[in-house]
């Protein structure tokens, strides 16, 4: 028997009862649609959540240094972190309650008509801060090791703090007064990506900060290369304070892979089961209808046997009919599923993420369902004796 004849007969068999064929397909359509939507939405949603672990979060490590009778981390220790492989930049920061609300003025004049005093946070930092907060110097420069060594009375203002104090240009070396002490403003730091609160703070070199209780490091900001955060989070405490690493608290980003897996597992399990159940129901539907069709077409089977059809020809025709039913259900289900995934993404403003294999495998799964469902009816049809079938 020519394969095209077989296909011809199977198609004619299906198209002879179009409404029944369409209804038979529905079960598979539902099952495949559910599967495609489940897997598609899960993959998409998983990716959206992973999308929030952006580069900044994924590469930021913060080490908190608790209060201790003796300083756990010295200012110079930051250099040891910088030397770790995978660290892009690092800076130490000192904050204290005493310095959190200090009165800062841009001149020493008393003017009752204006508010000249600003209450600002004053912090001390190591010279690497602009890089560590991923900011840039809007004006001037940051202080360096030389300023610190000489104990220069210089400050850098956060951009917001500078605006509040009315300092816009640095050509004339403006000064600010913290309490009664005057400091020369040498730079304005802006566009911070991390520690954005520093935009309204005043930054001092550590040597000067001692006056305001900013003598010991309270926090170390570390930026790592992509993917290095987990490793650096483990190594940084030991580098900063050998022997006391257990006392330091590390804040590091959650591993994105684990976050994605957790999301997919949650969403998938229930709906996958739902999809598989629908698919089984669809298979039972195909099996049922094909069996009914076989019983209805006993005379046709007898005729075909009389015309010289072997048992395998009869079996092949009914198998092909059920497989084509399943395949149609798979194709329609995959299409509807993909449309639903895209619609959900459009409604949620997500970027649809679709595994190409899913679009190919879904129709194939439908065909397999049809094939399995057709096995028993096809066997029944093939077993039929021509004598009985023609009666």
């Amino acid at each position: 028997m020519h394969p095209r004849d077989l296909l011809n007969e199977a198609m004619a068999g299906l198209l002879a009862r179009p409404v029944r064929s369409v209804l038979t397909t529905l079960g598979t359509v539902l099952g495949i649609t559910t599967l495609v939507v489940t897997l598609g939405v899960a993959a998409t949603a998983g990716n959206q959540i992973v999308g929030r672990f952006d580069e900044l979060t994924a590469t930021s490590v913060t080490v908190e240094v608790p209060e201790n009778p003796f300083p756990l981390v010295d200012w110079a220790d930051v250099d040891r972190v910088t030397r770790l492989r995978g660290v892009v930049s690092a800076a130490a920061l000192a904050e204290s309650n005493q310095s959190a609300n200090l009165t800062v003025r841009s001149n020493d004049m008393v003017d009752p008509t204006r508010v000249t005093d600003q209450t600002l946070t004053v912090v001390a930092s190591s010279p690497g801060l602009p890089a560590a907060v991923k900011g840039r110097m809007v004006e001037g420069r940051y202080f360096d090791a030389g300023h610190i060594a000489r104990g220069d009375k210089v400050v850098v203002l956060g951009r917001h703090a500078a605006k509040m104090l009315g300092i816009t240009r640095l050509e004339r070396a403006p000064a600010v007064f913290i309490g009664t002490q005057a400091y020369t403003v040498i730079g304005v730091l802006g566009d911070l990506k991390r520690e954005k609160s520093l935009a309204s703070a005043v930054m001092l070199p550590p040597a000067v900060g001692k006056r305001y209780g900013l003598s010991t490091v309270t926090r170390v900001l570390v930026n790592t290369g992509l993917g290095a955060a987990e490793l650096i989070a483990k190594q940084a405490p030991a580098a900063l304070s050998p022997g006391n690493e257990a006392l330091l608290q590390v804040i590091s980003p959650a591993s994105p892979t684990r976050a994605r897996d957790a999301v997919e597992d949650d969403v998938n399990a229930l709906f996958l089961i739902l999809g598989l159940v629908s698919l089984v129901v669809g298979a039972v539907g195909i099996a049922n209808v094909t069996l009914v069709t076989v019983m209805e077409r006993i005379a046709e089977i007898g005729l075909r046997r009389a015309l010289g059809a072997a048992r395998r020809h009869v079996a092949a025709q009914f198998l092909l009919e059920s497989t084509l039913t399943g395949l149609t259900g798979g194709v329609v289900g995959a299409s509807v599923g993909i449309v639903v995934v895209v619609a959900v993404c459009a409604a949620k403003q997500w970027t649809p993420v679709l595994d190409v294999r899913l679009a190919v495998m879904a129709p194939a799964a439908g065909a397999v369902v049809g094939l399995l469902a057709g096995l028993y009816p096809a066997l029944r049809a093939a077993r039929m004796e021509p004598v009985n079938a023609l009666r």
Binding site: R304, G308, A309, L390
Partner: protein, 232 residues
């Protein structure tokens, strides 16, 4: 001398009921090429069983059946199917046309299971339809045709592939007298063209047109002397 188309030798069929029913007992029959044989008998006489034997639709319990020179009782199921498809054209009482396929497709179905090529199948089917004078109904669905036309379409299907034997089971059982005449005229034509025809019937009108009449009673065959309406 050429092989006869049908040669039955002590063909016996028993059904394994309790007690066993002997539907055919040691039947002998010889049908030569271009014979036109009517097998008559009352219902329950074994007509259908004999038809199933001749059509290779069922196996005998014992005896031998040579069809066109081929000993069929020893053949395996698949080989019997092949012989059935290639040597026998069936004509049924209820036509057995597929209702959703056109007349042409129904006729072409006869060649689907043979080894024949798809090329030229349509032309061969059209020629077969021409032989039964149904060229004007080629694209019709069977449901829109008269009983006689449907039976002629079924005969066209049986003629596809040039079978050695046209085996007809009550071919006029569902037809009125006018259509019966048309079908019987067609059988006469076919026989004149050299076709071997075996008709199983209980209608006298049909059996009288045959050249030879064989009566089956309680599983045994008896040749009947032919008489025309004038002599009986």
């Amino acid at each position: 001398m050429p092989e006869p188309v049908i040669l039955l030798d002590d063909l016996t069929k028993e059904f394994p009921t309790d007690p066993p029913v002997r539907a055919l007992s040691a039947i002998n029959l010889r049908v030569e090429r271009s014979d036109y044989v009517a097998i008559v008998g009352p219902s329950g006489s074994g007509k259908s069983t004999l038809l199933n034997m001749l059509g290779l639709l069922d196996r005998p319990t014992s005896g031998s059946y040579r069809l066109d020179g081929i000993e069929t009782t020893m053949l395996k199921d698949s080989a019997r199917t092949t012989v059935r498809g290639s040597r026998i054209g069936f004509v049924f009482q209820s036509f057995h046309l597929l209702p959703h396929r056109s007349v042409l497709e129904n006729v072409m179905l006869a060649e689907v299971y043979g080894g024949g090529s798809r090329k030229g199948r349509r032309e061969r089917a059209l020629r077969a339809l021409e032989r039964v004078r149904l060229s004007h109904r080629v694209e019709f669905l069977p449901g829109r045709m008269s009983g006689g036309e449907r039976q002629r379409a079924a005969i066209a299907r049986a003629l596809m592939g040039e079978p050695a034997l046209l085996l007809c089971d009550e071919p006029t059982g569902n037809l009125d007298s006018k259509n019966t005449d048309a079908v019987l005229d067609l059988f006469d034509d076919l026989r004149a063209q050299g076709m071997t025809i075996v008709v199983i019937t209980h209608e006298n009108e049909v059996s009288e047109r045959a050249a030879r009449r064989v009566r089956i009673t309680d599983g045994t065959l008896a040749e009947e002397e032919m008489c025309t309406r004038a002599t009986c």
